[in-house]
């Protein structure tokens, strides 16, 4: 399964219409090769479609010119030296078609026509490369803008206590989607411009809390990430069966996970220990063994241990 790159996707997404050169310099059959030389030189192009009465009748290139020059035929007409009835590309075809054409045919350029066969541009390999680069640049720029906007939420939207709250439902025993809530929280923090260390600590704490809901609860629970200007709060709340002895549960290596779950590598009894290691504040409650609520706070600006 090879990875498909963004460029490969773009080749299918973008239409020839978007990358073609729009202002086409054309010549007519009666143009002489000497005149053609001037046209190519003046516009710094390597070929031109040949038009007669608004109809595309051929294409002439710098290669044809060189041959004429070598053969002393500069007075000959373009109409005699051109490639008649050239292979054309349709504007609404994807760029990948053009890539195939360049590989299949030995031409340096293709005239681009619309649905009615009218000439509306020309396409070279250079046009394709330039078009793809522009598109990639635009997309990169859009991602930058998105990052910028997100990281300014807390400056642009003013209140006494602004916070961004992300809620995720976590199903019991749903190992197929295990870690998805944590991954989404991680991505959100990355977009918000949090530092790699903060992202790492939050991701680890969120993952362990998420896994606890998946492994140990009867009916699942909810994960909430609350992002405030100065701290991140992760809350994991479920509806049971609860933890009878929190002190025991907090001991590294203590686990109540069944054997089959341990075989998958879960339930090592290190989850709560990991959470505690990543948290600046941690509160675990499970009154009467009916439900469990875990709250983890990670400071964004203060050093750990500082108040």
């Amino acid at each position: 399964m090879p990875e498909i790159t963004r460029v490969q996707e773009l080749v299918y997404e973008i239409k020839i219409e978007e990358v073609r050169t729009r202002n086409v310099i054309t010549v007519i059959p009666r143009t002489s090769m000497a005149e053609l030389r001037e046209v190519l030189r003046e516009h710094r192009i390597s070929g031109a479609p040949v038009m007669q009465n608004d109809q595309l009748v051929g294409i002439i290139s710098v290669e044809d010119l060189i041959k004429a020059l070598a053969g002393g035929e500069m007075k000959a007409k373009v109409g005699e030296k051109m490639t008649p009835n050239p292979v054309t590309l349709h504007a609404d075809e994807p760029v990948v078609t053009a890539v195939d054409y360049f590989a299949k045919h030995d031409f340096g350029r293709f005239p681009v026509v619309d649905k009615k066969g009218k000439l509306i541009g020309i396409l070279t390999r250079g046009d394709i490369i330039e078009g793809l680069l522009k598109k990639l640049e635009v997309e990169y720029h859009e991602e930058e803008i998105r990052r910028y906007r997100v990281s300014h939420i807390f400056e642009d939207i003013v209140s006494n206590r602004t916070s961004l709250i992300l809620r995720y439902d976590v199903m019991a025993s749903d190992f197929d989607h295990a870690g998805e809530a944590s991954s989404k929280i991680k991505r959100a923090l990355s977009r918000l411009g949090a530092s790699p260390q903060i992202i790492r600590r939050t991701a680890i704490a969120a993952y362990e809390a998420e896994m606890n809901i998946i492994i140990h609860t009867d009916t699942g629970g909810e994960m909430v990430a609350e992002i405030q200007p100065g701290q991140i709060i992760i809350r994991a709340v479920d509806t049971g069966p609860g933890i009878p002895d929190i002190e025991l549960a907090m001991q590294p290596g203590f686990s109540t996970a069944p054997e089959w779950i341990r075989e998958l590598g879960f339930g090592a009894g290190m989850g709560l220990t990991n959470i505690q290691r990543c948290a600046d504040e941690m509160q675990l409650e499970s009154p009467g063994g009916r439900w469990t609520s875990l709250e983890v706070v990670i400071y964004l600006n203060r050093r750990r241990g500082e108040k």
Partner: protein, 116 residues
């Protein structure tokens, strides 16, 4: 050393994320308990494990690991490969045991998180 070079030296089979093999590996970590991996493995590390279920992808992705080497001929679940491809996590496999793989990685200069 990159994951691509390590894969070649150890004759590992690459299953996913071929485009992500050129990143430099920052070190290595081996364990089959996910919480231990969460606690210790560092960004850019290669992780050697016996586990082949989809959650290894979540762990690798959350920690920004360079990739996962699955040992002893364990065939990763199809769901694991699908997820790994989607999230750009290279999964490599080998019939060798974890011990042998780690020994070879160490000989090639890949250091553990507790080694200087």
């Amino acid at each position: 050393m990159t994951l691509e070079e390590l894969g070649r030296q150890l004759s590992l089979k690459v299953h996913t994320a071929v485009g992500k093999l050129r990143t430099e590996v920052t070190g290595g970590y081996a364990a089959d308990l996910l919480s231990c991996v969460m606690a210790k493995a560092q960004a850019g590390n290669v992780w050697v494990t016996l586990q082949g279920h989809p959650n290894i992808v979540a762990v690798a992705s959350l920690l920004d690991l360079a990739g996962v080497i699955i040992t002893e001929g364990v065939a990763p679940d199809p769901a694991t490969l699908e997820k790994a491809e989607e999230q750009g996590i290279p999964i490599l496999t080998t019939p060798l045991t974890t011990f042998t793989v780690v020994g070879k990685l160490s000989a090639l200069g890949v250091r553990g998180v507790d080694e200087a």
